[in-house]
């Protein structure tokens, strides 16, 4: 084997253990999670013959007796095998109210020996006489489904197969996505406005002073996120330090304390604080490489300070501006902890909705679809970052 070939193999051999480790402990979990957004086999597994019988149905009026008969049999079996809850939950998410219909029907069917099953089921619950109920069963009976993604985009599949928008009061996710993008953009701009002068100051200060100033940026960077979030609660809450101060100085009355936390203001302030170092560090490393003589040259050639800055200095810092802004924006759109703790009900972002569907509503398919949309956005920005900056140049202080 050639030396080059051996070098390749050696390099690959060194990387391989970690590559396998990441694939198993990180990539595989992400993939199984994303699979949930398009794959929901609960109904198809528990009610296979019902689903098959509904395949014969043209969708007009009510399905044939065979579907009623299969459903009656399989509901009782699902109840015995304890899969009924999952089935009822899945159907209920397509048409709310069906959870109780399913559990009641399965329970009451125990005492029934013989058909005709259509009459039996309609006798137990009139919902079985509504075509919409059967459309919901047929829809959830598909193993692979686009409904979670449709749902995440405030769309729904109509009984005739067409796609339509959700009714007005159920449109929440698209506006939440926009709000997340908007808030992230606001935070990125704030970080740039606050971080640019600071990075400039540190980059061109004498070394000893620069080290001290840099430490002031790095202390929050290294301090626990929960500590920083706690700090903002202590400062911003109605009985907190800042409100106490404002009342003591007389700027606001005791009954006029400002609501600066548990809303979007709290989320923006705390997240700007948390993400600011990610802006300052790349800016600093770019600015440090700009020789001071350039600016003096510009002014000795007659440029005003503003001209020297905008025509000479600013263009050279653009790589840092791009790197810092992209990084802050990427981190902001996926942020979870800070909005969850200081955002209240108004300051939540898309990640918090993923968590809500994971932990509270238990609509894992929808959580996965929202997560998939978020991940797609982040990965697109990450690829852009890699092209513009290169991932290996991520600044870690």
């Amino acid at each position: 084997m050639s030396t080059a070939g051996r070098g390749r193999l050696r390099a690959l051999g060194l990387v391989l253990p970690l590559l396998l480790f990441i694939l198993v402990t990180f990539v595989a979990p992400l993939a199984t999670m994303l699979l949930r957004s398009i794959h929901e086999p609960a109904v198809a597994d528990a009610l296979p013959e019902t689903v098959a019988a509904l395949g014969e149905w043209d969708g007009e009026g009510l399905p044939p007796e065979a579907a009623y008969e299969a459903l009656a049999r399989e509901l009782v079996r699902a109840r015995g095998e304890r899969t009924l809850g999952k089935v009822a939950g899945a159907v209920n998410r397509v048409r709310s109210g069906l959870r109780s219909v399913f559990t009641r029907t399965a329970r009451d069917l125990r005492d029934v020996g013989a058909g005709p099953w259509r009459d039996v089921l309609e006798g137990i619950d009139p919902a079985w006489a509504e075509p919409a109920t059967w459309h919901a069963v047929r829809q959830t009976g598909q193993r692979f489904t686009s409904r979670h993604y449709l749902n995440a985009l405030d769309l729904q599949r109509m009984p005739d197969g067409s796609v339509a928008r959700q009714p007005e009061e159920r449109r929440i996710y698209v506006s939440l996505l926009w709000r997340t993008l908007l808030v992230s953009a606001v935070i990125t701009v704030l970080c740039l406005l606050l971080g640019y002068p600071v990075a400039h100051l540190i980059a061109h200060a004498p070394e000893r002073r620069a080290n001290v100033l840099l430490a002031l940026v790095l202390i929050p960077f290294w301090t626990s996120l929960l500590v920083r979030t706690t700090a903002w609660i202590v400062l911003l809450q109605t009985q907190g330090v800042i409100n106490d101060l404002l009342v003591a100085v007389g700027l606001v009355g005791d009954d006029g304390r400002l609501a600066m936390i548990y809303n979007m203001t709290g989320t923006i302030i705390a997240m700007t604080h948390v993400l600011l170092p990610f802006m300052v560090l790349p800016l600093y490393s770019v600015m440090r490489a700009i020789p001071g003589q350039y600016m003096s040259a510009a002014s000795s050639l007659g440029a005003t300070p503003a001209q020297a800055f905008f025509r000479v200095y600013w263009p050279q810092t653009l790589p840092g501006v791009g790197a810092g802004s992209l990084l802050v924006f990427i981190l902001a759109i996926g942020y979870y902890i800070t909005p969850a703790l200081v955002g209240g009900s108004k300051g939540q972002l898309i990640s918090n909705m993923v968590a809500y569907h994971m932990q509270t509503s238990l609509n894992w398919g929808l959580a996965a679809a929202l997560g998939g949309i978020l991940l797609a956005g982040v990965l697109a920005l990450y690829m852009l970052y890699d092209r513009l900056v290169g991932v290996e140049r991520l600044s870690l202080g």
Binding site: A11, L18, T25, N211, V234, A355, M358
Partner: protein, 258 residues
């Protein structure tokens, strides 16, 4: 200049405010009149005593250390090996591999946590220390890869060639020549990985049972459920800890001149 000073105050002041408040003698989250008068009676160590005597906090410290130290060792060993391969000019698809290895750092943590929750539970690692160690290793690896590859980019390959020409085997040359020179980068990466695990709460929220609760998980509960100045005492402890880590990394960087 004045603006920069304000921004630096914005960065540091919130953290510094926590420290005196953790010595509050009263169960409040704000400065009492006695504290402002610097009355010694208004200050006390009661919250520090409370956390030191509270088994919930001591056990979560032990859990944090077990998980953090194990994850750090794994991440540092695997990450350093991989960085050696990535630094080699013969490495194929270098850019692709690198961006894959760094992806845990930029993937929104809620997505990683949800995926890990399903996957680790399905293979029997839900609510175990091992599951959390593996998860935290994955999250810490990008930091090791980044710092070690950065250090290696300044490493003169002629040094290992010289060692080889003098008869050193590859392992011996690595251990005696290369490793001591890149050690500052390796240790910095390890400290980053440890800090990541020691501060991680979302994966723990999803995956840990009562037995695996860590310090950040306990603080989360403290902020959301029973707000007590005891968490300010813990926070002060974490601020001191972060400062030590930062000073160590800064010192290593100066030694490594990287």
């Amino acid at each position: 200049m004045g603006f920069c000073a304000l921004v630096l105050v914005f960065l540091v002041a919130p953290i510094l405010v926590i420290v005196p408040l953790s010595f509050n003698a009263e169960p409040y989250f704000t400065f009492t009149e006695g504290m402002l008068r610097l009355d010694p009676e208004a200050y006390s160590l009661r919250w520090y005593r409370e956390i030191a005597q509270n088994e919930v906090w001591t056990r979560s410290l032990v859990n944090s250390l077990i998980i953090g130290v194990s994850a750090t060792f794994l991440a540092t060993a695997l990450g350093t090996l991989a960085a050696l391969g990535l630094a080699s000019p013969e490495m194929p698809s270098r850019r692709l591999v690198m961006s894959l290895l760094i992806s845990p750092m930029i993937t929104p943590v809620i997505i990683s946590a949800a995926g890990m929750f399903f996957f680790y539970s399905s293979v029997g690692l839900g609510q175990t220390h091992l599951g959390l160690i593996l998860a935290h290793t994955a999250l810490g690896i990008p930091f090791v890869v980044i710092t070690v590859t950065a250090t290696l980019s300044g490493f003169d390959r002629n040094l290992t060639r010289a060692a080889a020409s003098l008869g050193a085997g590859p392992l011996y040359a690595f251990r005696r020549v290369q490793l001591p020179l890149i050690a500052p980068g390796v240790i910095s990466g390890a400290l980053f990985a440890f800090a990541t695990s020691f501060d991680e709460v979302v994966v723990v929220l999803f995956m840990a049972g009562i037995e695996q609760r860590t310090i950040p998980r306990q603080m989360w509960a403290g902020i959301r459920e029973q707000i007590s100045p005891a968490i300010l005492a813990v926070a002060t402890f974490l601020i001191v800890f972060a400062t030590i880590l930062l000073a160590t990394v800064a010192w290593l960087r100066r030694r490594g001149a990287g």
